[in-house]
Amino acid sequence: MAPMIPELFAQPLRGVLERLPEHAAMTIEEIRVRENRPLEIGYAGRHAFVRPDGSLTADVRAAYVPGREECRALLEKLTRHSLYAVEEELRRGYITVEGGHRVGLAGRAVLERGAVARLKDISGFNVRIARAHGGCAAAVLPGLLDFRERTIRHTLIVSPPQQGKTTLLRDLVRCISAGEWSHAAAAGWGGRKVGVVDERSEIGACEAGVPTFDLGPRTDILDACPKAEGIMMMIRSMSPEVIAVDEIGRQEDADALAEALHAGVRVLATAHAADLEDVFSRPVLSGMAERGMFGAYVLLSRTGGQVEHRVIASEQAAREFKSRPKPAIRSPDGFAPERPVP
């Protein structure tokens, strides 16, 4: 059996996935299970349907179709037989399982006072396989160093979904914590105290509070804690030198990060955005970017199975962005941009 398939699936779905061809099983990124619809996997940047014998196909009609019983069993396994214990996760639409794999859920939303209270009749699952890529930070980290302060600059990692933001963040945390700076001038710095606020339990994949991924020897982790609150708790109680958070985007996250900045803590964050232009046009992110909160940006992009990254210092980013003429209409569907261009 391929080592990457999590033990979530019940027979016969499990049997199908175990027979995946070697190259797909080793590079698998997503397993998409939809009730009474074809089974799909994503691997090495591509997507394919899976036949009942495990081979891959582009033909929808030849694909294996998981049934109601398999989906129900999968949901029970995901929730450890306890829907009542994952109400918060159901409200947000994903569950993180053992090993740090995140499973996105789609079903019917139940509203309470106008807000999504939870999902029911869950029939769509997207199992995103998490893996630790040791060494992916080594190429990025030298570009983020602040030699005067002997630490890292405030950094925002930017990429569209599925490009390895969290993987990079995890490895950066490990390197910073262990003092593996990958730079000759930084050889004697030693590690830094890192505080990780892991709202989605994806960075550390904690089991009972202990991370299952290697996050380095000097890392403290607040598991499943809302970012804004967690950042403040970390600053008050754990005296971190670097704070790492995943997927910022709300105003309260920005406020808490600003607080961290003023407290002299270095910040390492990720955000969903297509590119720098996107960062400068998103409501909350742009506010932070324009105030010059970040000292460096890391842009991830992917071609085929390879992840490429580009480190951009903030001055350069501001220059690059300002010099470009702004399009009147940004979205291809003709809607106005989210924020009027000043």
């Binding site: 019940a10 069993a73 009542y84 109400e87």
Partner: protein
Amino acid sequence: MIRLAGALLILLAGTMIGYLQAARFAARPRQIRQLIHALQRLETEIQYGQTPLPEALSRLAGVVPEPVAGLFSRAAGQLDRRDGPSVREAWDQALAGGWSRTAMKAAEREALARLGASLGGSGRDDQLKHVRLAMLQLQAEEAAAREEQQRYEKMSRSLGVLGAALVVVVLL
């Protein structure tokens, strides 16, 4: 001489049967009470701990004595298996496997089986309702069981002795 020994044996056996029967009458309300305690604990685990079911059930097994604990630990063990069954199947298997070791009757089993069918399958508030319903049913059964105990516990003891004596008299 042999007759006397036989009569003694019959008396002994009759008394034993009577006492065992009486013990069952006494054990039933006690075990139902333990079950109610366990469900109260389950309520707390669901409401405040939001403990996943396998863990919650093995904790329940820790707070009540055997043989009631066996029901919960059996179900928890089933759920923790890698390609484990659904909650309902695990629960039914646990009841089927461990019920005969308890002194409880069909009505209690019915209440528990109904609880098992809904356990884990809904949100917190709904789960609490199911647990409370099961507790109410068990409380009703407990009252009935106590009444039975008062009425039949002593009687079955004396019936054992007297029945044996009757047999002895007839045979002599």
